[in-house]
Amino acid sequence: MSKSNITRRGALKTGAVAGAGLALPTIFTASSAAAFTNEPTGGTVTLGFNVPQTGPYADEGLDELRAQELAVQHLNGEGDGGMLNTFSSKALDGTGILGKKVQFVTGDTQTKSDAARASAKSMIEKDGAIMINGGSSSGVAVAVQGLCQDAGVMFMAGLTHSNDTTGKDRKRNGFRHFFNAYMSGAALAPVLAKAYGSERRAYHLTADYTWGWTQQESIAAATEAMGWETVNNVLTPLASTDFSSYIAPVLNSGADVLVLNHYGGNMINSLTQAVQFGLRDKMVNGKQFEIVVPLYSELMAEGAGENVQGVFGSMNWNWQLTDEGTKAFVKSFGEKYGRPPSNSAHTCYVQTLLYADAVARAGSFNPCAVVEALEGFEFDGLGNGPTLYRADDHQCFKDVLVMKGKENPANQFDILEVVEVTPRAQVEYAPDHPMFGGAEASLGECNSGA
């Protein structure tokens, strides 16, 4: 009598393994016949906007979404065209991208890396998104950039300020228009030294995640180069809301400057509480105590109210600039939404146009062709003056704004003022800079998903 070795359990196991094995290569490759992931075949092309629609950065996300929607309208020839009229490249003509009408899908990052990856994955696999844009956190940006690289689609980062995004975690398929922590430090330090003197003792409170660490490292190095001393650096949990027990020790530390490496709700709370504890009324070492917020945003400044008055920080862009590109964008955005755009909205809008332009110049949606078109691309007319997308690390180099909370704001739009436009040369660094992963940092190979 022959005895079969096939058991029910064995068959199930084999079936499961075989099924998983068959399914695996199809992940990210919706059509195996296509030359690259999500190659648009009909009359439309789909972009994926992955922004925080819930969670602590939801207000930033909402503003990004407004700008992305506006960008799509302008690409499709609707509205007044915004920055397409001032952009130095004239490859886009308002007929979509390469003649295909642009449509978009949105995802909610929830400001959580896993949720952001899940929503990006869904937009790539289910909706056929060929490019992912957005994000309001460096943790999210680094995670989604890695996913896009593996999936073979383009990642045009939104608001992400950590050095790591185009530093040790840089990827060939990822590009960042927003400035970074190093640039904030390089732009701010000379202004701080000029305003507060070169003999200062700084105490840092730092959000305990990738952005906070690189922000603190950058601003500490830049201010120390100006003669400042870093007295202490205390890491605070990202979920903190009450910073009083972190602020109280500052009083007796001998420090005369408090640097808040915080963003969003963290910054609103820590700054408000520092002011409540009377830090800004104090005299230490014979000097007036000062507070610095290295990374500003309009929405944060609005939230912190009068506490931002006189506080220095830096920004990627501000609607008060007077160049033609800025004027065109503020007009389009302001007329549509009744409010000036934030700098996170600006970067998402510009990134969407830059992607579309690169596709048009390359004559192809193939990510590798788009990467090639963006690497080393020099442009102007998008609000930041002459700008370079550096090929070595996919970081944009442009002027940086040093901002200050206005002492006597006249109205609700008058919260921050531009103190200095720091020239691009002052914030440049070598691609193998130690803060950016050193010599080991590499973009890797382009992935088209083919």
């Binding site: 819930t54 027990s245 709700g265 409540q276 000036p340």
Partner: protein, 358 residues
């Protein structure tokens, strides 16, 4: 020494919030036997009562100011609050400035109603269900409430400042004979502590010295017997739920100037408040209050890098992995203390045998 006093003060205001929330949680658990995960949301709704009243007082109409331009270069539309137009700048402006203290009066009926509606509308259907079901439904309710708040008020914290006369801080160090600027403490935090002490005292007095309180206490000890005596204990427990909600709500209103309210603030406090209840002893009101203050102060000390530095130096741990763990002590201290207390006193600090046990 000055740093020690400062951290104790810091712990007291956070401890006050923990104690007020834990007090309400214990009341609800003690009376109704329900584990209410929506209690943090009540604290949050309280804080948003302050935001709402501020918004009501600042409801404005627009006046075109030809002398100023908006961001598009058009004449600026300036917001003019109705209360200032109706009652004059001084009284109207005063209403806006005092919106947080006034919000306490506003919050009491609102929170009593919210508590009543929550208990009668949803939670009473879960009395006879397992605790796991109660946790799920109240946790779900908390998420729904915070999403409603977010949809209406946005995700960013909203500034709700205290009246001008309570802004700023007192140099307590000078009063105690230390150097100037060594112990500085904001006025509003001191008020918060005093307020918490009064509310806690009032709740205890209510339970201790009124007939209503006596019946509730009897019901907490033996619900069935009290019911057999012909007393409608359910009705009284519903009122207690409303009172617990009002306590959480007032705690939230007064906390608004300390920490700008955002939709998530209830969740931030909820988990810690549960730890407070467990550490204090399930069903023990004095335990909840004592544990609230204890954990608030311990958390405050654990956040201080100087103290952590002393521990590291004292134990010769410089450069070791344990040093890194100690640097992150502030994030785990409450749970660490909870583990130690529950290992040594399984019923918590003031839990009694037979209470909340089958």
């Amino acid at each position: 020494m000055d740093a020690v006093i400062l951290q104790i003060l810091n712990g007291l205001d956070k401890g006050s919030a923990y104690a007020l929330i834990a007090l309400g949680l214990t009341l609800i658990f003690g009376t109704l036997g329900v584990v209410n995960f929506a209690h943090g949301a009540l604290f949050m709704i309280g804080a948003f009562c302050a935001v709402t009243l501020q918004k009501i007082f600042t409801l404005s109409f627009q006046v075109v100011d030809e002398t100023q331009k908006d961001f598009l270069g058009n004449p600026l539309k300036v917001d003019m609050p109705y209360v200032e137009a109706w009652f004059g700048e001084s009284f109207g402006g005063g209403l806006i400035e005092w919106s947080v203290p006034l919000a306490i009066l506003f919050s009491i009926p609102v929170m009593l109603f919210v508590g009543y509606a929550m208990e009668r509308g949803l939670i009473k259907h879960f009395y006879k269900r397992p605790h796991a079901d109660q946790i799920l439904v109240t946790f779900g309710l908390a998420i729904v409430l915070q999403e409603i708040i977010k949809a209406n008020f946005g995700a960013n914290p909203i500034q709700t400042p205290a009246p001008d006369m309570f802004r700023g801080s007192a140099d307590i160090g000078m009063l105690l004979g230390f150097d100037a600027n060594t112990i500085i403490y904001p006025y509003w935090r001191m008020i918060y502590f005093a307020f918490a002490a009064i509310v806690i005292g009032a709740v205890f007095a209510f339970l201790q010295f009124t007939t209503f309180g006596m019946v509730v206490r009897a019901g907490m000890a033996d619900r069935e017997t009290v019911g057999l005596l012909g007393i409608n204990i359910d009705k009284r427990f519903t009122i207690m739920f409303g009172i617990a909600a009002a306590v959480a709500g007032m705690a939230g209103v007064m906390y608004a100037p300390i920490n700008s309210p955002n939709y998530h603030m209830g969740m931030d406090f909820l988990v810690l408040s549960f730890v407070v209840v467990v550490v204090g002893g399930m069903g023990s009101l004095p335990g909840a209050v004592a544990a609230g203050f204890l954990l608030g102060i311990l958390e405050s000390f654990a956040s201080n890098s100087t103290f952590k530095g002393y521990i590291v130096d004292f134990l010769y741990l410089n450069g070791t992995f344990t040093e890194k763990l100690i640097q992150g002590l502030d994030q785990i201290i409450i749970y660490l203390v909870a583990i130690i207390i529950l290992l040594t006193r399984p019923r918590g600090l003031m839990g009694r045998k037979g209470v909340m046990e089958d």
